[in-house]
Amino acid sequence: MEATLTAPQILKAPKMERDFRTENLSIFYGTYEAVKGISLPFPEKSVTALIGPSGCGKSTFLRSLNRMNDEISGSTSKGSIWIDGVDINAPGTDVIKLRQKIGMVWQKPNPFYKSIYENIAFGPKYHGVKGKKALDEIVESSLRRAALWDEVKDRLKDSALALSGGQQQRLCIARALSVNPQILLLDEPASALDPVSTGKVEELIKELKEQLRIVIVTHNMQQAARVSDFTAYFYLGQLIEYGMTEKVFTNPENTMTQEYIMGRFG
């Protein structure tokens, strides 16, 4: 791979690099265009960070990737989201099936008001996994993948709300992993956590990217630099710069990107 790749270059890259990407994706709230025709690839085995000042559309963009904006009344979109050669933004897409392929974790941990076990087993059970043994296995492997198993294996029947904030967030990651997604969307997953928990979540992101694609929205520049392979800088709903993280952070092409990363505005 070249040292830097711009969005158009990646779009022209071999298919493996292109099988998850957006094409001219615009999102509207009523008539307000929150995201303006963005084309971005999400290469395999990599973390893509979306950065930019508040209100720049990066969270809206992230939410649109698994059609979560459908649940907001007045929200519409234009353009395509390609996953494995299928445009999931096309009308008629089975969003329920789609969302199994794409896991999501939010800023504030939001475990269900259920036991630790049920939090993980809930999704797979709904999607047809039967039998205690199969579910037990999913619960254990999901919790292991989220680096939480050792901390909770003796109290799986306890309420998930009894866990600490950092543990709850890893539980939410485990819950997202339970339905075996190919893509994981993280919306500021560590901004409500203490430094130790943040470190654990970042470690986890680095491990998980070996298994799936990760898209992360973050306000923390150091975090973006630490965990991501590609960085996209958003401003006022537009994609200002996209490239390999190292390049964007050390030698950005756009002065706006540089000023934002240096903390001069935003």
Binding site: N66, M68, E71, S73, V95, I96, K97, L98, R99, Q100, I102, G103, M104, W106, K108, N110, P111, F112, Y113, K114, S115, E118, F122, G123, Y126, H127, K157, D158, S159, A160, L161, A162, C172, R175, A176, S178, V179
Partner: protein
């Protein structure tokens, strides 16, 4: 210094008001129980009332109150849950939802005597259900439904939005999210709403006089055929409830011990409401724990 003085005064005023309310309630409750307790006996609770002689009981009335409660909740809870969930989760905000909310609020402030007369006209006469438990239950539904709808709507709305998002992101259907993610969290508030409506069922008299009627047929507690007119389980028979009975003996009771019967019946009513409250809360807590794996209700 000034802020501290204001703070102190405000605290004193608030505590005084709270104590005042507690004192009034305790006084009322104590008075009712003190006057009525001495009259309560097993015989009083189980035997039928007597028209002009002493020693009548309130057995059928107590049974009627409980039976009416069950009937009313059977109608109110599903309807109220359905409408409340619709308002909170399905209806798009706009004129129609606003209109429904307005109607629900107007309904809840109807004077009970008006609801009673409305029930007499529509349910008893036009629908031809006669003075019956079902008529009474339908009339009570008119009051209880608004409460149930509002409480259900608020209970569902107060569940953090992230819970719903988490469900959607897992690929759950809306129905699944409502029933298994949101409902357990909303349950404690829904139970409170059910208890409040139950209190109104026990206490209501005006609306029931014209719908459930002011008399009870001679009941045979050995007859469990719900279609027989003398069976206590027949929902189409007239039924005087405890609250109506208290009103009746107070205003036109002929028995020489009418005053004591009224006092005893009042005490029984209060105790029944109290027991129902405690039992409903206990059962609700068990269900909540079962659904959420938590140790306590929050």
């Amino acid at each position: 210094m000034k802020a501290r003085a204001v703070d102190k005064i405000a605290t004193i005023v608030i505590v005084t008001l709270a104590l005042l309310i507690v004192a009034v309630l305790a006084g009322l409750l104590g008075y009712i129980l003190f006057r009525g307790m001495s009259h309560i006996s097993w015989d009083f609770l189980t035997s039928a009332p007597r028209k002009i002689r002493e020693g009548g009981g309130i057995g059928p009335q107590l049974f009627n109150s409980l039976f009416l409660l069950i009937l009313t909740l059977l109608i109110t809870v599903p309807l109220g849950l359905g409408a409340g969930i619709y308002m909170a989760e399905y209806a798009r905000p706009g004129r129609i939802t606003g209109f429904i909310r307005l109607i629900v609020e107007v309904l809840s402030s109807f004077p009970s005597i008006v609801v009673g007369l409305f029930g007499l006209l529509l349910i008893v006469n036009i629908f031809g259900l006669g003075f019956s438990l079902v008529s009474g239950a339908l009339a009570l539904t008119v009051f209880n439904l608004p409460l149930m709808v509002r409480i259900t709507e608020q209970a569902f709305r107060s569940v953090p939005a992230q819970q719903k998002e988490a469900g959607f992101a897992l690929g759950l259907s809306k129905w699944k999210i409502v029933t298994t993610v949101l409902f357990p969290v909303a349950l404690p508030a829904i139970i409170t709403g059910t208890i409040l409506s139950a209190g109104r069922v026990f206490g209501e008299a005006a609306a029931l006089m014209f719908t459930a009627g002011m008399s009870s047929p001679r009941l045979d507690f050995g007859n469990w055929n719900p279609l027989s007119p003398s069976s206590p389980l027949n929902p189409f028979r007239p039924a005087e409830t405890l609250a109506v009975h208290i009103w009746k003996i107070n205003s036109e009771g002929l028995a020489p011990d009418a005053a004591q019967i009224a006092a005893g019946a009042s005490a029984v009513l209060v105790i029944t409401v109290l027991i129902f409250n405690l039992v409903a809360r206990y059962v609700g807590r068990l269900i909540y724990r079962k659904l959420t794996a938590s140790r306590r209700m929050n």
